[in-house]
């Protein structure tokens, strides 16, 4: 008899609880990470035939989160990839903007302008304006290359800072995840009382995937176990800190515990930042350096063999000093091949012309260059042995001085590039894009540009030869302008690849997000329908109760 009331009551109570759940869902329709809740009803056992048939009615088993953790894990994989590609894309488009190509202000135009000016100078070597313009063009080219290189270096520093920030974000989240794990365990694992905590857990997991590509190793469990590329960060309530790299060439490390040491994230923002800082940007920098070094070397080799507008040399000092590599305090006794010169000179014959200014008679002397064994002092001694010139070494620099009434030059065919290696009559100084500059001797002295190979005022043959360097193979069979073009094209290809990867991964992530939303998201229409359903259930149960009540009244009346 009592079961009449209890059935009705259980229905009313269950409907109310279901309506509460609907309210909770509607309230959280826009909450990120919220998975919709569903009330689970079970019918109580009841047998009409048995006198003690149980209480009957409906029982609320609990509220569940509608969530597919395996789908979520898959989504996190893709979104980690997407976050990584997006970061790469962001930096690559910044690099692209630095290049200013294709355009009038790019380095390609600076290279072309530089060589064109050599060609203009070859036409009018006596023209001071053309000479001054050439120095300007050369300085502009040096500046453009070093600006680009330092911008890339600065970008690497910026990436280090962004990495440090991202690592802090990771640590904040892993610490919170460990706490959430503990609270979930305290609340009895995956039971209904920890549903909000599970929402929180899933949100942190999504953030960790985007940050560092961390994955949940235990998608089916109540607590999350998070690892980066196999290295555990959070296991139950244990959490290990991630440390930012100590320098731009290093990767991140896990602080302590088992599996400590360097880790190599495969996804997320941090993986992209590490890749940019450790591989891509250094590679770009080295390509710019390689190009700058080839430019410096090839121009210097030709320039060192020319004669400046001032005439033949009477006093010439090498621009770069040999270094004391063997550490005995004397830079002049290291073999040329290992004396810290910008490049190792070739073995061969160096030819020196010594001219008697009064008769105009020129004698060509030969010095054999063996960079493996010869030291700077040996070279100086060989110069010194030549009639009418003297040579000395001071501070690692070679100085050649002719006797009064004599002068010297290096216009004879050279079988070695030792002049450029020592920086005798060089046009550029430096050995890569960072320190490349106009040779100090030439700054403010356009007349010292060696446009010709004779003292004739109209001889622009050397300038013409340097102008043609743009057509000569510089590195790996490519000319200097080709090196730059292929660099720009490679940056373009990398950037375009990142763009299309972002697009592809983006639509993949969208698809999975839709699937997840389809399962776990709140549909207001659905909730509205349920609201009506539970409302009707409530009224029906209430009506049932009042019917039972009237029946009981009737019985009492007739008694």
């Amino acid at each position: 008899m009592s079961s009449d009331f209890s059935i009705g009551l259980s229905g009313v109570l269950a409907a109310r609880q279901a309506i509460l759940t609907v309210g909770q869902n509607i309230a959280n329709a826009s909450t990120p990470g919220y998975a919709r809740r569903e009330v689970q009803f079970t019918g109580n056992s009841w047998d009409i035939a048995a006198a003690q048939g149980g209480e009957g009615g409906v029982r609320v088993d609990g509220t569940i989160r509608v969530k597919d953790m395996f789908l979520t894990a898959r989504l996190h994989n893709y979104s980690a990839d997407l976050a990584s590609r997006e970061t790469t894309q962001r930096y690559l488009s910044e690099i692209e903007a630095l290049l200013q190509e294709p355009g009038e202000n790019g380095i390609a135009a600076a290279i072309e302008g530089f060589f064109n000016q050599w060609q203009a100078l070859a036409r009018r070597p006596e023209d001071a304006t053309e000479r001054a313009l050439l120095l300007e063009m050369a300085q502009n080219l040096c500046e453009r290359l070093s600006e680009l290189r330092s911008s890339l270096s600065e970008m690497r520093v910026g990436i280090q800072q962004e990495l440090a920030g991202a690592v802090t974000d990771v640590n904040t989240r892993t610490a919170e995840l460990a706490r959430v794990n503990q609270l979930i365990l305290q609340a009895g694992g995956g039971s209904g009382s920890s549903l909000a905590l599970q929402d929180r857990r899933d949100r942190i997991l999504a953030e960790l995937a985007d940050l560092v590509g961390a994955t949940n190793m235990d998608p089916a469990g109540a607590t999350a176990r998070v690892a980066i590329n196999g290295s555990m960060l959070v296991d139950g309530t244990t959490q290990l800190d991630l440390l930012p790299p100590s320098n731009p060439d290093e990767t991140v490390t896990v602080s302590a515990g088992s599996g400590s040491g360097p880790v190599y994230p495969t996804g997320g923002k941090i993986a992209a930042l590490l890749d940019l800082s450790r591989a891509l940007i250094p590679q770009y920098i080295s390509r710019i350096d390689e190009m700058a070094a080839a430019l410096v070397k090839s121009v210097n080799i030709l320039h060192s063999q020319g004669i400046s507008g001032e005439g033949r040399f009477t006093d010439l000092t090498s621009a770069w000093a040999a270094e004391d590599v063997n550490g005995d305090g004397d830079p002049s006794n290291d073999p040329l091949a290992s004396a810290g010169l910008p490049f190792v000179p070739q073995a061969g014959i160096l030819r020196v012309n010594v001219t008697d200014d009064s008769t105009g008679l020129t004698v060509t002397h030969e010095i054999e260059i063996r960079p493996g064994t010869q030291t700077l002092a040996d070279i100086a001694a060989a110069f010194d042995a030549i009639d009418n010139i003297t040579a000395s070494v001071s501070g690692g620099k070679l100085r050649i001085v002719s006797q009064a009434g004599y002068s010297f030059d290096f216009c004879a065919d050279q079988g070695t590039d030792v002049l450029a290696a020592l920086g005798l009559n060089a046009f550029f100084q430096g050995s890569d894009a960072s320190d490349m500059a106009l040779a100090e001797r030439l700054v403010g002295h356009p007349e010292r540009i060696a446009a010709g190979r004779s003292t004739d005022s109209g001889d622009g043959s050397n300038a013409a030869a340097i102008a043609d360097l743009r057509y000569a193979a510089a590195v790996g069979g490519a000319t200097l302008p080709e090196l730059w073009r292929s660099f720009v094209a490679d940056v373009g290809v990398a950037s375009a690849a990142a763009n299309s990867a972002v697009e592809t991964l983006g639509s993949m992530v969208n698809l999975l997000q839709d699937q997840e939303q389809g399962m776990s998201g709140v549909s207001l229409d659905e909730e509205a329908a349920k609201l009506m359903q539970y409302q009707q259930m409530y009224s029906a149960c209430a009506r049932y109760l009042s019917t039972i009540s009237r029946l009981t009244d009737l019985l009492v009346q007739y008694l």
Partner: protein, 306 residues
């Protein structure tokens, strides 16, 4: 599949964003009139644009070199023509003198004119173009012909001070065009100056030759002048052929510039009609999307609950 509010708004936003993005990209193209504004737009085209750009700049430099060479050669050609005219006058006078009917005073009058011709020929040889000596080779700052004069100021001897090396303008890619004419060959080896000087000296007859010897010497001078004039004409002709060659190179360069400009435009310049069409289409789509958004967002079962 369940469709939730999040999905609806999310998808809508995504679509609107992607179309707005495309629209702004089209606006950029329209504003710059360029198909490629950054390397990632089209890496291959970027590379081609840069190559063609460099090619065009180098061709521009070649054009400048051709113009400069043209100026130099034109000046040389003019000067040689003037020298040739002067020489022709000297030869006319030599024909008169060789007739042998001239008095001593007639001869000295002619001698004075011939001396003028000699001076003007030396002037021609030392002619400059844009502050550079035309016939000195690479020694552009040194007058090619130095003269020695006697006490009366009459020219007695000539020497070449210029360079044997020819002045050449680079045209790029190791090609060059010689613009100078060697003064030694044009004025000394050709006997131009010496023949005129010998003619003048025989007219003045400082050596005290007999009338017959003088007549013979003058006849000899006439034939020397004839040969010298031919030589000078030959030199002028050689300069002329260089100018023709230069014209040809100039035409080739102009054609190359046209071709490269066309190719560059193909790679770089945006097709205005195509952009206008695409712009129209994207705008229509975006409008339709926004329209649909307004409708979809308004439909909800909640509206029908009592």
């Amino acid at each position: 599949m369940r469709v939730t509010e999040e999905m609806r708004t999310g998808n809508l936003l995504r679509n609107i964003t992607s179309h707005s993005e495309r629209l702004s990209r089209l606006y950029e193209k329209l504003a710059t009139q360029q198909e490629v504004t950054r390397p990632s737009d089209n890496p291959v085209a970027t590379s081609s644009i840069m190559r063609l750009d460099a090619h065009l700049k180098a061709l521009g430099e070649t054009t400048k070199a051709i113009d400069a060479a043209q100026g130099f050669l034109d000046a040389a050609s003019d000067t040689l023509e003037r020298a040739s005219d002067a020489l022709a006058r000297a030869r006319t006078l030599a024909v008169q003198a060789a007739n042998g009917t001239l008095s001593a005073s007639d001869r000295s009058a002619i001698a004075a004119e011939v001396n003028q011709i000699l001076e003007s020929l030396v002037q021609c040889a030392n002619e400059m173009h844009e502050d550079r000596y035309l016939f000195s080779g690479t020694k552009t700052d040194t007058p090619p012909i130095a003269v020695t004069r006697d006490s009366d100021g009459l020219i007695q001897g000539f020497s070449y001070q210029g360079s044997d090396g020819a002045l050449a303008f680079p045209l790029g890619r190791s090609r060059q065009i010689e613009v100078s004419v060697n003064g030694q060959a044009a004025f000394l080896d050709s006997d131009v100056l010496e023949a005129v000087k010998s003619f003048r000296d025989h007219l003045l007859n400082d050596e005290g030759l007999t009338e017959e010897e003088t007549a013979a010497a003058l006849r000899d001078d006439l034939s020397r002048l004839t040969v010298a004039q031919q030589d000078l004409l030959h030199t002028a002709g050689e300069v002329g052929s260089r100018v023709t060659h230069l014209d040809m190179i100039g035409e080739q360069t102009d054609r190359a510039i046209t071709r490269a400009t066309d190719a560059l435009s193909d790679f770089r310049d945006a097709d205005a009609a195509q952009i206008a069409f695409e712009l129209q289409r994207e705008e229509t789509i975006l409008q339709a999307l926004l329209n649909a958004a307004g409708r979809i967002m308004n439909v909800s079962l909640m509206d029908y609950l009592e």
